[in-house]
Amino acid sequence: MIEPVRIVPLSESAITVEFGDTITLENNQKAIALANELNNEPFDGMIEAVPAYKSTTIYYDIFSVRQANSEISGGPAVEKIVRDRLRNLLLRDEVKAQTKVIEFTADAGEFDLQYVADTKQISVNEVITIFTSAEYRVFMLGFLPGFAYLGTIDERLVLPRREKPRQRVPAGSVAIAGRQAGVYPLDSPGGWHIIGQTSTPMFTPVADNITALRAGMRVRFEAV
């Protein structure tokens, strides 16, 4: 049985279920488990459930929800359904598949690898060793199609975002900011520190797996 910290409306057609005030593995597991449960067995009128770091947002069509639950208004009806589902929700390993390995080329040239090393007063090689020796969790996807928020970065590499975001970060850039890492799936503006490039596509519009990563997966990086 899982107790949410709170359930709040995001709009008249969506609610957000908060599992805690801080990002923890457990809060994130709950968020992903609830989203999976609902997406596998949607209630009448549900559009989709979307997990984030420590919350799940459920979007619904108010007209269909009201038709299916005529006795109360839509928002409270959805909240009741979600609370019932949470009561029976079991935490499992969301994705059983083995750890996904992303090969990348460390790049001390044009971008920020040297800057990260200098600022943290370690060598470029140490940056790469620290970065590649950890296993990361996909906490959520967002920002861009296929952009996965990976955590958690070793404290020795933690840096605030760039003061001036770049207008164009190339697709395939492996980047870090704060306790997070990510791979840019598309060319886009971005404020994270780029430490390398991968040729593994993160977003493939027409494929069985549109995105290389999904919330709950595990990822390791290998420098080549």
Binding site: L10, S11, V50, F63, R66, L141, P145, F203, P205
Partner: protein, 316 residues
Amino acid sequence: MSILVEKAGILTTIQDGGRFGYRSLGINVSGPMDPFAMQVANILVGNKPDDAVIETHFPAAEIEFEADTHFAIAGAEMTAILDDVPLRNWSSYRADRGQRLRFERPSFGSRSYIAIAGGFQTTDWLGSRATNLAAKCGSFGRPLANGDRLEKHNICENSSSLTVSPWMLPRYNQFPTVRVLSGPEFHLLNEDAVNHLTNENYTISNGSDRMGFRLEGEPLNCTGFGEMPSAAVTFGTIQLLPDGKLIILMADHQTSGGYPRIATIAAVDLPLVGQLGAGDGVSFAMIDRETAESLLIERYNDLEQLRRGVALFGKK
């Protein structure tokens, strides 16, 4: 059977009801900035409310009908002209093969919609034809360009010309007061900040686009928090930036955001905001969720009534 884009205009895209079910992969919904206008245009030609339409800004698209076509226009007032004849907005017409539709002069609003009977048969991606500019997918995966051809079904059995009664239209205004619900982080605002939010007249700043509107106005005196862990957002979410300024997330917003979501525009009033452009204004009035729900249900019912009316009169 097609429609030729003679001139594309500055930002003309194919949109439909949106792409649902993929937000957990970071793929946003897209869709029209003014959902009401899109739905009315579709209903006027006997389509499903969420079929694919053209959304056009001024300078707008100029198109040539390469086959007889039953079409409708709705949304911004931009003086639509079919060959030489001015058209009424919020209306359906028949175009003969070879006729051209253009928009001459904007007098109110920022986005016009063109629907054709049967809907535009452009490329479907993940169940929707809405153009996703970030992913470069859906229809052309980009704004329309000069010379593009839009496929259509060979139907023009119904050529009635109908106009929507003015009573049905939302209260479009260049400086609307729109109704908002409290958002998940509304509790960060103290009483002064809430009063400020509902008394200030905000201006839509330059650089506002389909992703979001930045608002000019006295910053909310409410600091001490910056970013929070990323969480889901929606069309109409009002985010509070660290400097006290506000952003309204619009149709092409990203799926998640790290700024406090202090309020959300009631869906029933999204069309009012969706017609605004740089220099226009907006102010906010709080309502509760139940009221917002009821208003949205009323809107559904109005559109259903329109659909029945069109089905009835369209047969004559």
